[in-house]
């Protein structure tokens, strides 16, 4: 049920304060403000639209259900990006473990045997949805970002797509400011190399 209350010009802190009093309009405003940046970050991290939507939903549910524990001295955006980034990284770590178990059967000792016993993922025609995903994430720069290490990827997306300040990125990732700068520098260097090699 929508409450006819315009919160578009109100600061995040004030909206969170109103959400703390149980105002549904304030909750919806927070979802509207952050659904695109949070979804974009997670989607670029996990590169699967359906999964990204699930993780984005989990992020919002976690944040909004803990709104009374929010500390106003921190930026709301830092808090929600931190939870979104942690959800993505946790998923990537889990998937890495799952992927290891798919690389051939446990008794496969030779490369031929590994090949024979591996599960073939993505065989057959891709669905329309998968094609669309491949297209929207298929540009050179998106591919190059997808090839970065997850830590570099988080940094470069938050810096260059979301336009977050270095110190906010450091807060979100729980990293020292210097490390964030180094990660972004290295990520740009890798992107430069990838784009250069793609252009041939």
């Amino acid at each position: 049920m929508h409450t006819p209350l315009d919160l578009t010009g109100v600061t995040d802190q004030e909206v969170v304060e109103r959400a703390g009093t149980g105002s549904e309009a304030a909750y919806r405003e927070l979802v509207r403000r952050y659904q695109r940046p949070v979804f974009s970050l997670i989607y670029r991290m996990v590169r699967d639209r359906e999964l990204a939507e699930d993780l984005t939903q989990e992020t919002f549910v976690k944040v909004l259900n803990a709104i009374d524990r929010y500390r106003p001295e921190y930026k709301f955006s830092s808090w929600i990006f931190k939870i979104a980034n942690n959800a993505s990284i946790d998923h990537l770590r889990r998937r890495e473990l799952d992927t290891l178990s798919l690389d051939g059967g446990p008794d496969a000792m030779t490369p031929d045997r590994v090949q024979a016993t591996s599960l073939q993922l993505g065989d057959g025609a891709e669905s329309q949805l998968e094609e669309l995903e491949a297209r929207e994430l298929g540009t050179q720069i998106e591919r190059a970002i997808g090839a970065l290490r997850p830590e570099y990827r988080s940094c470069i997306i938050m810096r260059h797509v979301e336009g977050r300040a270095y110190d906010e990125i450091a807060d979100v990732l729980d990293l020292p400011l210097g490390t964030v700068k180094t990660y972004i520098h290295r990520a740009r260097a890798e992107l430069r190399e990838s784009l250069g090699s793609l252009r041939g």
């Binding site: 149980g22 549904e24 909750y27 979802v31 939903q57 919002f60 549910v61 470069i156 797509v161 992107l191």
Partner: protein
């Protein structure tokens, strides 16, 4: 915070291609009913009006204005207590004699009556059982038979619900 590379030059100077490419990245959006899906799983603390009432009450307590009404309530509760103590003090002799009679006569009499009633109930039940089962042996055989029939029914029901081989084919 300035956006400089480690060597001091800006990304736009050193990496125009990368910078241009990054600037073209679009923001993606989740599906159309995303907001409603999130809201259906969010637990909101308290309705706004109720929250306001709670806050008003806290304000009332914090300001100290609550102590007047609370004091009046406490005095109101003390009045019946004072009346009760006064009555006990006035009729202490009569109350003492009543308690002595209760302990010496009333309670033992009531206990004797209760015991007689219990004994009567027990003897009636015994007579009823003796009329139904003429001998102890017949009662024992009937009990063992009932247990065996009940066990057989339970086993039959289990076999019906878990036919042989069913576990082997399911994961």
């Amino acid at each position: 915070m300035e956006d400089h590379f480690l060597n001091g030059s800006t990304p736009a100077e050193e990496d125009p291609a990368v910078h241009r490419a990054l600037a073209t990245l679009p923001a993606f959006a989740p599906g159309p009913v995303f907001e409603d899906r999130v809201m259906s799983r969010v637990w909101r603390p308290l309705p706004a009006r109720l929250r306001e009432l709670v806050l008003a009450w806290r304000d009332y307590v914090d300001s100290g204005r609550v102590y007047g009404p609370l004091g009046a309530l406490a005095v109101g509760a003390l009045i019946p207590l004072g009346v009760a103590i006064g009555l006990v003090a006035t009729f202490s002799t009569q109350i003492g004699s009543f308690l002595a009679w209760l302990v010496g006569v009333g309670v033992p009499f009531a206990w004797a009556m209760a015991r007689a009633d219990i004994a009567e109930v027990v003897s009636t039940v015994n007579a009823y059982i003796a009329a139904l089962f003429p001998s102890g042996t017949a009662l024992m055989v009937a009990t063992i038979g009932s247990v065996l029939v009940l066990s057989g029914c339970t086993l039959g029901l289990y076999r019906t619900m878990n036919p042989r081989g069913a576990m082997r084919h399911s994961r």
